[in-house]
Symmetry: C2
Subunit: 257 residues, 2 copies
DNA sequence: ATATAGTGTGTACTAGATACACATTGAACA
DNA sequence: TGTTCAATGTGTATCTAGTACACACTATAT
């Protein structure tokens, strides 16, 4: 099968042009339909899903490599992307039979073994605007789609752990920095924003207090428009004040006296 | 010079037994004399200082490699050690002429070049009890000692940046988790603890409010003893309630309703 | 004995977070 | 057409954590 040669060629190229031992994995969060979603890839000829990832070119910044991966999977250019943890356990592949999985790709076992020696993987998480994403599989996979965070199946490698830690990091970030700019459309309602927060944190909040707090941050601008077409009273539309939002991102509140 | 052969041999061993492309660097914090200190190494035959670091054995967990490095530099076994960021810019060595520096070790330039291709480096930070540390140089260095955080010189590589970010992470951690267990001796006074906090955060605090807050966390146990020998009224001694301290480490306070 | 400087302790005040209720609107339905 | 319903808009009382602040005590130094 020609796919086999193509893969072997690809692996050879990888070896020549990419840093050995190190890879990148991305937990890409999107928000749609009141649900927090993660973009996953399905390996060719399998039912096994994993996170999108990539490798670092020898003359490429690591962050740039992560952006490149993301761009290739989503079509998006300007995105919130941040490393959250680096994974380096010897047995990070323990949850599955990796040789077996690679064999399904049509690789001979000896080639497969080269691929599966433990790598250090730098985990990034991204926040993207759901509607703008064009999910695109890579050469190893034949499907790329969103999964509800609640319904993610057992993933390959240590990728479930990565998703958990990315979510934990996202939640923590919420406690000292604003979030939403990259997850919501440009104009959104206060209930939209609240639903986002509730979904990420996994808990409900008081409508009135939530609004008070958000407005208190001074990063929102209420528009004159209201959202029309809803079944009930029309809520106001808001958008982020980009400048103040950026400032708030830098000024993280700390333990002080 | 025999040192040269020894070094070349060492590098060959490194290549065979360690993961390529990836290294570890440690920002080791200690507290002494009212000052926050960092452990630095001075390169052989130079006045250039850098952070202690290491490489990962092919069959070794990354965290274990970091612990090993730390053990080798400090003699300490049980220590607080946590990764805080992974550095992967192409120009992370831009701040110095690396070939030149390596030449001072007695390495021929061609060998030196192999060494200096950009690596990904995983940054760890450690909190250790100052008094128990036995600073020990490694094969590349002939001095290992503590530096006041305020007086750290221009370091090799991107190590100044690493120290800054480690400190920033430490400060942030202070805002949602207790700190002190690994930086103070077993028994300490409230003023000791306050001085630690003030040093890390770089700001003074109200004595009474600080005590109230710390006791409010419920992780301290006041002993019947007082510290004797001081020039003034004897302060009480405290120790951490290990169990509650550990619990507090897990239960990080988040943005909630 | 006296001075000095650091420690032990308590109370009033402030601001942010929380709990909570009623009026308004727009579509759906009778 | 008007009645119903569910969601939105808005304000106030309360609670709690954080902050500001003062006086008494004690161990050494003189």
């Amino acid at each position: 099968m020609e796919c086999k040669n193509e893969l072997q060629q690809l692996l050879a190229d990888f070896k020549a042009n990419h840093m050995p031992s190190v890879s990148i994995d991305c937990v890409i969060f999107g928000f749609h339909d009141g649900q927090l979603k993660v973009l996953l890839l399905r390996w060719k000829n399998t039912d096994d899903w994993c996170l999108p990832g990539g490798r670092i070119h020898k003359q490429e910044n690591m962050d740039a490599a992560a952006h490149r991966s993301l761009r290739e999977r989503t079509g998006l250019h300007e995105i919130f992307l941040q490393q959250f943890h680096t994974f380096g356990d010897v047995n990070r592949y323990r949850h599955y039979s990796q040789i077996e999985t690679l064999a399904k790709l049509g690789l001979p076992e000896d080639v497969a073994k080269q691929v599966v020696s433990r790598d250090i993987s730098v985990g990034y998480y991204a926040l993207v605007e759901f509607a703008n994403v064009v999910p695109t599989p890579d050469i190893f996979t034949d499907e790329c789609r969103w999964w509800d965070i609640q319904q993610i199946p057992a993933l390959l490698f240590d990728h479930n752990e990565m998703v958990s830690l990315a979510l934990k990091t996202l939640r923590r970030q919420l406690s000292y920095q604003p979030i939403g700019y990259n997850l919501l459309p440009e104009k959104f309602t206060m209930p939209d924003l609240q639903q986002l927060y509730e979904t990420i944190l996994g808990q409900t909040m008081d409508r009135r207090n939530f609004q008070k707090r958000m407005l208190g941050y001074g990063i929102l601008k209420r528009l004159d428009e209201r959202k029309i077409g809803g079944a009930h009273k029309s809520p106001y539309l808001y958008r982020f004040d980009k400048e103040k939002y950026e400032k708030a991102l830098e000024t993280e509140s700390l333990f002080t006296t």
